[in-house]
């Protein structure tokens, strides 16, 4: 089973819902994005931000109010769902309860009038692929959640869709299984090389599975990029907060030279990539990830390559491989994570400590 990927393009798409007795709500507001052939793109965002609505418009379950959607070269905006050649995996799987596993998986093939012999072959092939050989005659209610999930995936991919769409497919599984299944989904998607849009509100899942992530907020795309790009260079406080934990600390630009600028921080200074429009005196937010911060004894002096600030430990969460602290510094709270506590020891709540940050670890919150 080989599928050469198809490109998906969403072009200035909007969807508004009218709500009784209230103003209309723009569930999706002028969203544009491109998913390259074979790529897995994740729509990530908080509840109600329009992920599902976007996905359902791509599938054809909802009609956009504005904008166009292209699969490959074809404008599918007006095309009925059943002619789009997609595979959709639903959050609750939506297996046909009156059909066996075999019949569920064969459904799309039968609808396409694939001859019986081929149906048998392709169904057993795909059940093999998802690790469910021999399950043909079971009914959905005789399967565990994880097995139902696999059947749903098998049913979606067996028709060799041009696009694979997932709406929070793992959210009904327990935490361990979720981690295992996302690895399997990722492997399967790479193997089949089907262009995929994947919706989730789980940041770990998105980072683990995606080629690129589109972070959504209130119906708009806040930022698109690889997991690493989003983590290293978030372009808004929202994205910074949503992808991992973050400390946003205000600094003042001291000097700009040759694409670098020096920013005053905690009585010292850090040098970061220059931001357009920044001149000496400009105030900006610096991103300090908790794991880049280190707790040191109160008496430590700032070194040449890092900056230091003094504060009081306000809370401590011991998590085994790491310890999370909040440290009060001049009225603000800093999140600090330290690893390997068994080896390095823990600091008590109420203790006066120094917090250091390597000058190289700070980044400006870029707005462009």
């Amino acid at each position: 089973m080989t599928t050469t990927g198809t490109r998906l393009q969403i072009d200035h798409v909007s969807k508004r819902f009218s709500r009784v007795g209230q103003s209309t709500l723009a569930a999706v507001d002028d969203v544009s994005l491109v998913v390259e052939p074979g790529e897995l793109l994740t729509l990530l965002g908080p509840s109600g931000c329009g992920k599902t609505t976007t996905l359902r418009m791509v599938a054809g379950f909802e009609q956009p109010d504005d904008g166009r959607i292209y699969i490959g070269d074809q404008d599918v905006t007006e095309l009925m769902v059943y002619r789009r050649g997609i595979g959709f995996v639903f959050q609750n799987y939506a297996l046909f309860p009156h059909l066996t596993v075999f019949e569920n998986v064969a459904y799309g093939l039968k609808v396409r009038r694939v001859p019986g012999r081929d149906v048998d072959r392709r169904v057993s092939q795909v059940l093999e692929l998802v690790g469910l050989p021999g399950y043909e005659r079971r009914f959905p209610n005789q399967l565990s959640g994880g097995e139902q999930q696999r059947v749903a995936v098998a049913r979606a991919v067996v028709v060799e869709p041009r696009l694979l769409l997932f709406d929070e497919p793992l959210s009904n599984l327990d935490a361990k299984l979720r981690v295992q299944m996302r690895a399997e989904l990722s492997r399967l998607q790479k193997q089949l090389a089907i262009t995929t849009v994947y919706v989730t509100h789980d940041q770990d899942e998105a980072m683990a599975i995606s080629d690129r992530i589109a972070v959504m907020r209130q119906g708009r795309i806040a930022q698109i990029g690889t997991a690493e790009e989003l983590y290293r260079a978030p372009r808004s406080e929202f994205v910074a907060q949503f992808i991992g934990r973050v400390n946003l600390v205000e600094g003042r630009v001291l000097d700009v030279t040759g694409g670098r600028m020096t920013v005053a921080l905690w009585g010292g200074s850090v040098t970061v990539a220059a931001e357009p429009g920044c001149a000496p005196g400009t105030r900006l937010s610096l991103i300090l990830r908790p794991e880049s911060l280190t707790l040191v004894p109160e008496t430590t002096k700032a070194g040449a390559t890092d900056v230091l600030v003094l504060g009081t430990v306000r809370s401590r969460t011991f998590l085994g491989e790491k310890v999370e602290y909040t440290v009060e510094v001049a009225g603000a709270l800093l999140h600090v994570v330290t690893y390997d506590p068994a080896h390095r020891g823990v600091v008590d709540v109420g203790a006066r400590v120094g917090v250091t940050c390597s000058a190289a670890a700070a980044r400006p919150l870029t707005s462009s």
Partner: protein, 558 residues
């Protein structure tokens, strides 16, 4: 999905259903209204003429009063039965026995209770005269009609209220108990208020049934207590006054429509929770049971009613097996011999029509339910409402409207099997439609979307996914159609002919010719056939893994 008119399957389906509803529901009613209000120009004289006449004026008042009384009595009885079966921790067999007896009046041909009451309490009644030696009991008039209709229609209230009481969230009552309230107080302050919407709904349902009842008053009301349905019938069949009949229909239509709309609004505001069938019926815990005294009191009342119903049916059975019950009590199969000779044609006709109704009406019900529950199109609510009209309106109105609309070319359909089937399909599919929407409410729409995403057109999805899933609803809907087609009379009495006759019409003839034994034999046959159908249906329902007689019974109640 939101632009249905682009859907190549939905549009024709909607148009087809609309066309059928327009022709067989709206058009006849329009003809009825035109005849009432058009006399070489708009005119109220048909209605004003009626109101000037004492009989018609009192028919209106009597009908309304009777509806309120039967509604009140039936709801009270239904509530008592519902409390007893849901809250008294009765053993399973007792509950099943109560359900079986209570189901009887719901599935009997009309007249059954009326004939039985004549046997029991009539001038030479077995109970009034032979047991108590009373000679002055007058079963004809308000009291007889009220008694007979209450016995016939309280099961409707019972089935509604049973579901309502069983579905009251147990946590609410438990928390009242935990706050220190005693049983009676909890009942008064929590249970009863929570059940009130259900009680109102039951009252409206029973009142509507009474308002529409044509058979009982025809036998028991007598000339001193005229009611609207029988007056309209007599106006047309006795006096050949079509305009007068139409105008009487209009007088009946107004309160019937008011009740129907009121009841609909009520249900809608509560999200339809009173029509949906739930599996929770019968769930009960000790702490919420009734006090022993209450159980005894309810048991007495319900026991009395159950006995009365049983006596009625025993009397009918007895009457069908002797020469003349009360006069000549020798065993005789003459009545049955007649049923299977002279009466055979009516039996055969009725069966043919009932069987024809099942697939046609069943499919119509499921398609309509699907359109209403799962699709969006302009005029969807209007279609739903229009499709319910013939169910909601008294049969007499529907029958007279059909007579007006389909008696002359090009639509000279009265007297044909076709029009009888059509009449039943549009009158009695609603149970199937409701069952379908109830089943669909429990099926995630994502299942249909999954089918679409796999490339299935909407008709393929309907055939391969929806239809198999709503099989229980289809079955229930077809069962109701069969039962109603076997037992209905009020509308179709205007539509029968020499070619196509009905058992219920033969029962009526038996009564008017004072051949009560024959009428009883016909009734017994119908009851047997219908019970058989219910038994087969509930067996099939169990095979479908989707419920039991209890559920079918609930569906039949609608």
């Amino acid at each position: 999905m939101r632009r249905p008119l682009r859907d190549p399957v939905l549009l024709p389906a909607v148009l087809l259903v609309w066309a059928a509803v327009a022709l067989f529901v709206l058009y006849p009613l329009v003809r009825l209204l035109i005849l009432t209000f058009w006399n070489e120009g708009p005119s109220l004289d048909a209605v004003t003429g009626l109101v000037r006449d004492w009989t018609n004026r009192s028919a209106l008042i009597n009908s309304l009063a009777l509806a309120v009384l039967v509604g009140g009595a039936g709801t009270a009885l239904g509530f008592a039965f519902a409390l007893l079966t849901v809250r008294a921790n009765l053993p399973g067999w007792a509950r099943r026995a109560i359900d079986a007896v209570v189901l009887l009046p719901l599935i009997s041909p009309p007249f059954t209770a009326a004939i039985a009451l004549i046997f029991a309490l009539g001038p030479r009644g077995l109970i009034s005269y032979h047991v108590f030696g009373l000679t002055k009991v007058n079963i004809y008039g308000l009291w007889g009609t009220l008694l007979s209709e209450t016995l016939t229609y309280f099961p409707v209230a019972y089935l509604t209220l049973k579901a309502v009481i069983a579905n009251i969230d147990p946590n609410l009552e438990d928390s009242a108990f935990s706050l220190g309230a005693r049983r009676w107080r909890v009942f008064r302050t929590v249970t009863l208020p929570l059940a009130t919407p259900g009680v109102a709904n039951a009252f409206l349902l029973v009142s509507a049934a009474s308002l529409a009842d044509f058979a009982t008053p025809l036998i028991l009301a007598g000339t001193k207590f005229p009611v609207l349905p029988t007056q309209a019938f007599l106006q047309i069949t006795g006096l050949y006054d079509m305009r007068g009949g139409a105008a009487l229909c209009f007088l009946l239509l107004v309160p019937a429509l008011a009740i129907f709309i009121g009841q609909r609004q009520w249900i809608e505001r509560r999200g339809g929770s009173f029509v949906t069938v739930t599996g929770k019926v019968g769930a009960t815990t000790r702490v919420k049971s009734l006090s022993p005294a209450a159980v005894v009191a309810l048991g007495l009342v319900c026991g009395l009613v159950v006995t009365l119903v049983l006596i009625c049916y025993l009397l009918i059975a007895a009457a069908s097996l002797v020469r003349g019950l009360g006069a000549d009590n020798t065993l005789s199969f003459a009545h049955y011999a007649h049923v299977f000779s002279g009466g055979l044609k009516a039996v055969r006709d009725t069966l043919i029509i009932a069987v024809l109704c099942m697939p046609i009406g069943g499919l119509f019900a499921v398609v309509l339910g699907f359109l209403v529950a799962r699709t969006q199109f302009p005029g969807r609510r209007a279609l739903e409402f229009a499709a319910m009209m013939n169910y909601a309106l008294p049969g007499t109105i529907v029958g007279i409207a059909y007579l007006l609309a389909f008696n002359d070319p090009p639509l000279a359909l009265t007297g044909t099997a076709f029009i009888l089937v059509v009449c039943y399909v549009f009158r009695y599919s609603l149970a199937g439609t409701r069952a379908t929407t109830a089943v669909l409410a429990q099926i995630d729409p994502a299942i249909e979307e999954a089918s679409a995403s796999l490339g299935a057109r909407r008709d393929v999805t309907f055939r391969r996914v929806v239809l198999p899933l709503v099989r229980p609803a289809l079955l229930a809907g077809m069962t109701v159609l069969f039962i109603r087609a076997m037992t209905a009379i009020s509308a179709t009495i205007f539509l029968v002919s020499l070619d196509w006759s009905l058992v219920t019409v033969r029962i009526l003839e038996g009564i008017t010719n004072l051949e009560l034994g024959q009428a009883s034999a016909f009734s017994m046959l119908v009851i047997a056939l219908v019970y058989l159908a219910v038994a087969v249906a509930s067996f099939a329902m169990r095979r479908l893994n989707a419920g039991s007689l209890g559920q079918a019974g609930t569906l039949l109640g609608g």
